[in-house]
Symmetry: C2
Subunit: 159 residues, 2 copies
Amino acid sequence: MQMKTGVEQSVYAILILNMLPNRAILPGEAISQQLGTSPTYFQKLLRKLVSADLITSVTGVKGGFKLKRKPEEIRVYDVYLAIEGQQSLYSPSGILDDMLDLEKEDECCLLTDLMDEAESTWKTVLERETIKSLYEESTNRFPEKMEGLKEWVRERMVL
Amino acid sequence: MQMKTGVEQSVYAILILNMLPNRAILPGEAISQQLGTSPTYFQKLLRKLVSADLITSVTGVKGGFKLKRKPEEIRVYDVYLAIEGQQSLYSPSGILDDMLDLEKEDECCLLTDLMDEAESTWKTVLERETIKSLYEESTNRFPEKMEGLKEWVRERMVL
DNA sequence: GTACTTTTACTCGGATACCGTCTGTCCGAGTAATTATGG
DNA sequence: CCATAATTACTCGGACAGACGGTATCCGAGTAAAAGTAC
């Protein structure tokens, strides 16, 4: 039970896209280069983020990606959902129903309520943090390093 | 990112072992039969529960398993730990360190704090519920069915 | 009837195979800006 | 100089290969109760 590595990559990718000036765009390969991940696989992650309406894509020459929402409206949980999907961490298998020989309408899983609640509190924490808050935190901790990254973005962006 | 099915099986297995009278023992195969799972794989789960000090085993003829602790001292989280292991759900990959070109002592992951906190609250919920509380809940909801199961256990137990 | 041996029914733990999912690669198609070409 | 065609640099989405972990099976070894055997 481990979170996919794609979630972390996606968060940082969005953090980079957040450095773009208005209407500017960054090609996917530039981002994957900065992240140091495999370009082809990273493209698949980007498409998931597009499907989830977190970023927009522009096709053709001078194409690329940019944020679709304001950074304060992109929660870490949104990124998680986009990459991992919305299925819950626990899926009951109905063992208890067989053991107790329960009818259809009585079907139950003692653990479901508990697990759902646990996952819900977990989710709540991930909903608190947004790209904006992450961005501010990192610029506070590493102002000059982040400025350098921003500079890099400006060199690679188009439009 | 899905919880292993073994966690649910283990919880129900312990729930069954909780029906044993004092000093009685139940062979692993009887349990797996009741759960309707593959006997060989289920044995591996049982051994994990033994290693985690949740249950004790008796070898030889008339051998089997029984609870090692009182049901109120076995939390769902203990079972989870025994099966899934104690590794955290999120493991940072250090991408940000490379991006910002951080030194060793500055190494950081913006997401670690958040993820750790999320997992912590999740854990807390799983620590609340114990085998005892699950057992009481199920006997309240299905008193006669649970009594039937208890009867089955008495037929299969040894010693 | 007692001491000893054999059988039996379990757990223990390793080796191994299967299978689904995550990771990663490749390719053809679509798209739009840029460049080349022809009049 | 303008219209059109070809090239280029991207995204899109599917097909597919490899790695890894969870699931599942098998087997030999250890253990202790029970059953069998010898005297």
